[in-house]
């Protein structure tokens, strides 16, 4: 289909009004607050509910909340999570929580921060936190292990503590 270009009017052919209009906008912004952030010297404060990197948490008693159910591994769209279950010889941890992951790895190069792992977790053990800038010098460095994930995740003050009552 051919669209016929509309012929410009005389006023339009002068160009000057349009240029002046442009300068007006520019001038207005001179006196407004700056929006550019001087990253990385200046860091962005992310809002509540922001979905950054997923980390593991402990409860207030220091127990790794993850019980190695592997639902996050199952649901993870880019297959970034790899869990090594404890196997039969695992010492029963705290009370009736008989299971905890032997190893828990998230490949942050693969992770797409979708939040499925947090949503599927029946134990509230994994949360998407506010970290958005993950760097490393090797691929290996970008695979976060259990200890690193727990250290980054910190403590989750769990109101319910369901295993206490099992």
């Amino acid at each position: 289909m051919i669209v016929k270009r509309k012929a410009l009017s005389f006023w339009e052919r002068l160009y000057l009004p349009a240029i002046i209009g442009g300068f007006k906008v520019t001038l207005r912004h001179f006196f407004k607050k700056k929006v550019t952030m001087q990253y990385p010297e200046e860091k962005w404060v992310v809002p509540e509910g922001y979905r950054g990197a997923p980390y593991l948490v402990k409860d207030q008693e220091g127990r790794t909340k993850c019980v190695s159910c592997q639902l996050c591994e199952f649901v993870c769209p880019p297959k970034a999570i790899t869990i090594t279950p404890p196997g039969p010889d695992s010492a029963p941890g705290v009370g009736n929580v008989e299971k905890a992951p032997k190893e828990f790895e998230i490949n942050m190069l693969r992770c797409i921060f979708c939040g499925y792992c947090q949503e599927v977790c029946p134990e509230e053990a994994i949360f998407l936190m506010k970290d958005y800038s993950l760097t490393g010098t090797t691929r290996q460095e970008m695979i976060y292990g259990k200890d690193k994930l727990l250290a980054l995740g910190g403590v989750h003050n769990d109101k319910i503590q369901k295993w206490k009552h099992k």
Binding site: I160, Q161, K162, K164, H165
Partner: protein
């Protein structure tokens, strides 16, 4: 006012009557057995020959005797179901596992007149061609078992038992087996399992009907103590005469155990249907203690549905002209028989009337009953196993100041999920009927109790108190 009609308890309280065989014989004992063994083969008008045992069975059928254990099933019919062609031995078991709260009639018979039971049993065994019979007696009746064993030894020594009884050519042995203290052993298939040495898990029916696949998978008859005693009297007086006692379809006499808030608790034997509940409580048992008012009556052992004082029922009655008329009958004016109580939504069960006056805390009373059933559920099938304990826990909570206003409906909801063929045996009904009837008939008391607890919790502090317990719920 109707009088007691002592048939089975005729000798029991006679001064000077002892448990000895000699004493029993002096009072006309074992005449029924002699009569039974002497019945000759007869040619019936139809041309069929009927042997002695067959004629006894016919007499029991004619008598209209209904089982005294709880269900009120026709004894003659029960005997007619027995598979006599399998070639397997037939067993008879006397169910003396009397453990329904509120019932204590069988104990009277066993402790006071054991030979009457033996005679009834021997006749019943003869009538059914049984060579080996058992008395399954409640574990707690230690003395009763000793009494029966002594009576058995006496009977054996006079050849009322053993080989070639009284020269008739009929052999019979009876053993006493003591239970280990479980209510469920009173359920006939549970009893059979227990007798076989297993856990008393009631059997599924089909296929395990005792009349076909009972003890050791052989045809088996299980009868209550009182029923077997009645057989002796049927043989002595004839089925037709026995049928004239009581009212049509509710024949014979019945031992009623009355307990609770009455002046004279005890066992009273009356013709079935001739006395009303009110007469039994106020005339036989001496009425309530002074200054008390009637609150509720459990008419047939703790598993029967409760009657609230002043409750009225519409009963269908057949007038003399054969017309059916509907009458409003007060709870106290219900004739104490199988059918009237059934029509009123409860049952005469094992004949144990529990009377509660206005000093009774109805919630506590139900909690007590529910705790009993939670403890006695065998745990085989799901609804009864889980439901009985659930109801008990809820009622314990309610009686310990942790109730909720909604607990009345909560209890009904649990109880409604247990009975009606969802369980293997009748225990499901037994544990849920009290809850259903107590809560629905005294609902305001249950709601008030829960509401009071809630109010107390709300005022004591801002803390939700027992609400925290919901942490055990699956949806934290």
């Amino acid at each position: 006012m109707p009088k007691e009609y002592r048939l089975i308890l005729k000798n029991a309280d006679v001064p000077g009557f002892t448990r000895d065989l000699d004493c029993y014989l002096r009072h006309g004992g074992y005449e029924g057995l002699k009569k039974a063994l002497a019945i000759a083969t007869k040619v019936q008008p139809s041309g069929k020959t009927a042997s002695g045992p067959e004629q006894i069975r016919e007499e029991v059928m004619t008598s209209g005797l209904r089982g005294r254990g709880g269900a009120g099933f026709s004894c003659g019919l029960k005997w007619s179901f027995v598979d006599r062609r399998s070639g397997k031995p037939i067993y008879l078991i006397c169910n003396a596992d009397e453990s329904e709260p509120g019932t204590f009639k069988d104990k009277q018979i066993i402790y006071k007149d054991p030979h009457q039971l033996l005679e009834g049993m021997i006749i019943s065994c003869y009538a059914n061609d049984v060579k080996l019979a058992y008395i399954y007696i409640r574990g707690e009746f230690v003395e009763g078992a000793q009494i029966l064993n002594r009576a058995l030894a006496e009977a054996r020594s006079r050849n009322f038992l053993g080989k070639n009884i009284l020269g008739s050519g009929y052999d019979l042995e009876i053993h006493v087996h003591r239970g280990a203290g479980a209510y469920i052993c009173g359920e006939e298939t549970g009893l059979i399992e227990s007798l076989e040495g297993k856990r008393p898990y009631p059997r599924i029916k089909p296929p395990y009907f005792p009349a076909v696949l009972g003890l050791y998978l052989c045809p088996t008859i299980v009868n209550n103590v009182e029923t077997l005693c009645a057989v002796k009297h049927i043989v002595e007086m004839g089925g037709a005469v026995f049928a004239k006692l009581g009212t049509p379809n509710n024949t014979g006499t019945r031992i009623v155990s009355i307990s609770g808030h009455v002046k004279k608790p005890g066992c009273y034997e009356v013709e079935v249907g001739h006395a009303t509940i009110g007469q039994l409580i106020f005339d036989f048992a001496g009425g309530l203690h002074d200054g008390r008012k009637l609150k509720a009556v459990i008419p047939g052992g703790s598993s029967a549905k409760v009657f609230k004082a002043g409750e009225k029922f519409k009963l269908k009655k057949k007038g003399p002209d054969g017309k059916q008329t509907e009458q409003d009958v007060d709870m106290l004016d219900l004739p104490y028989d199988f059918d009237s109580l059934m029509a009123a939504g409860s049952m005469s069960g094992s004949g144990g009337i529990i009377v509660m006056d206005d000093s009774t805390d109805i919630v506590k009373a139900l909690a007590n009953i529910a705790e009993f059933y939670a403890h006695e559920s065998c745990g085989q099938c799901t609804p009864c196993r889980e439901g009985s304990l659930w109801m008990s826990k809820a009622l314990q909570r309610l009686t310990h100041g942790e109730g909720r206003e909604q607990d009345a409906d909560y209890l009904i909801r649990i109880a409604d999920n247990i009975p009606g063929g969802r369980t293997i045996c009748a225990f499901g009904e037994a544990c849920s009927w009290p809850v259903q009837s107590f809560v629905s008939k005294f609902k305001d008391e249950f709601i008030a109790r829960g509401a009071a607890d809630e109010a107390k919790r709300a005022s004591s502090s801002g803390s939700p108190g027992p609400e925290l317990k919901t942490a055990a719920s699956p949806h934290p």
